[in-house]
Symmetry: C2
Subunit: 297 residues, 2 copies
């Protein structure tokens, strides 16, 4: 960058022929992470969650600012926080360009800046009837991670905890979907709620097939009663949900077959009927809200 931390503001030189992509996310102690979370866990979660917004746009993340509010200036805590931030920043090749550190209740707010080719950014509004609905990776792990956070003694929880504190922003997948996906969103509130945002923005409905949902077999085995509900509406997965026009489905299948994209078709976009924009699971209508755990009958 032209000028970084230490002046009144940072000076950046975005690549020509790109649009700037900007997203802000805030994490508050005891709301978005438990009070016993480590500084490093808070940092990795804050940055990964925000990178996921860049992934959903198909953008290349480049820079971020940090607004950190802390009750006390604890050197050890700050060291852990910096380490977590640096690990994720290095992994994704992004630079901290400035911020503000203030005294108060623990709050972390990040603003990420990225770039997308002009006209290339993925949006929520392009889904059309007949489009295939896909998700990347597996679903339900984020909610399971949250459920086991207060249960640290149990063996085998490390993978789920990692999924909660260090979800894997699907930046590479998002970039591959430019020009292929008709709409895209990241799954933060839960599949049904976030797919519902695509439906509302695009003026369509969606039909999901529950037996196609990609759920880790270990998750089903460990939580047989909750796994499906978590996959549909648990949230915190930070995978991408995207739609693909019929003409482009073959290209997606090809990328998946090549191992270049980890994605599963889970349903189809439908025209809106009298009931307005809806998300159906196995032909039953479900509520478009976070924390959904039952069907409307």
């Amino acid at each position: 960058m032209a000028l970084g931390i230490g002046d009144d503001a940072a000076l950046l030189s975005p690549n020509p022929n790109t649009q700037l992509v900007v997203a802000t996310d805030t994490l508050v102690e005891s709301v978005h992470f438990p009070a016993h979370a480590s500084a490093e866990q808070i940092a990795t979660r804050a940055l990964c969650v925000n990178l996921s917004d860049m992934a959903a746009m198909g953008a290349t993340p480049r820079w971020f600012t940090l607004a950190l509010t802390l009750p006390t200036a604890d050197a050890e805590w700050l060291l852990g926080f910096s380490r977590g931030l640096a690990e994720v920043a290095n992994q994704f090749g992004i630079a901290l360009i400035g911020g503000d550190t203030t005294s108060g209740p623990l709050t972390v707010s990040l603003t990420l800046l990225g770039e997308a080719a002009i006209g290339g950014a993925l949006q929520r509004s392009g889904a059309g009837p007949g489009d295939g609905i896909y998700v990347t990776g597996t679903l339900g792990d984020g909610a399971a991670g949250l459920a086991v956070i207060d249960d640290l003694g149990k063996r085998g929880n490390e993978r789920l905890l990692t999924r909660f504190y260090r979800p894997e922003p699907q930046v590479q997948a998002g970039k591959k979907l430019q020009g292929l996906a008709s709409a895209c969103i990241d799954i933060s509130d839960g599949l049904v709620a976030d797919l519902g945002h695509i439906c509302k923005s695009s003026g369509v409905s969606a039909s999901l097939w529950s037996e196609r949902l990609p759920i880790d077999p270990e998750l089903v085995q460990r939580f047989p009663e909750q796994a499906l509900s978590w996959a549909l509406s648990g949230g915190d997965d930070y995978q991408l949900c995207f739609t693909v026009a019929e003409a482009d489905v073959g290209m997606i299948d090809k990328l998946v077959a090549q191992g270049a994209l980890d994605a599963t078709m889970i349903g189809q976009i439908q025209a809106v009927t009298d009931g307005g924009c809806q998300v159906l699971v196995d032909d039953k209508r479900v509520a478009l809200k976070r924390g959904f755990d039952h069907f409307d009958r």
Copy 2:
């Protein structure tokens, strides 16, 4: 903008041939504003303080994101906050492009994005020996405003309260200083502390003349014992402090004479001597810290 609030991120198209200028500021209740401040006052102060960083860079502010953490969703409070934000945003022609609203202790964090011609942004590092030192407007009003905040019954405090809750970001002045000022900073921590940042970044010392400091006569009359101390180190003025090479002093004087710039020469940059970067007031060294209220003798 290309795409605003409502998708995973905002899409912006900065003007070609500009650099992007990015600044973040956070305000925490009971730290940066008293608990009895109105929603509108909090909003105007948050945005004006952040616009002041843009002014200090000589940048044209264009967009901002809002990270708002609130204990409860109070419709009346939000209405007042939105009104304050909209008033200042309209005045400066900037657009709210996104953000995040979360539940928790009251915290407002803004990230402003602006533009500056490539190579045209004002920085802290260009001051050289012999440069004149200037400030815009008057000094000490911000600190006086803070002092009278708990004293609302007194007549005649409105002007000072306004200076605290709605300081006037010197965006127009900053833009006029492009190509003229050798260094620039906005006065948030106090003149001595902020001029000290210029000195450290530029590797120089500074000599101020106390009788030249622009202090409102009413402030001197009302607070005869505090006025000078507040002007030197009270902070919260959000005026610009800038330096000008001898060759350009005539141009600044001309702008001031034309009424195009409200600025006063208050001292001169000097070469560093054995004592390192220093700020002298009437030839006495002063401490480079916020809340300064006495000379080192």
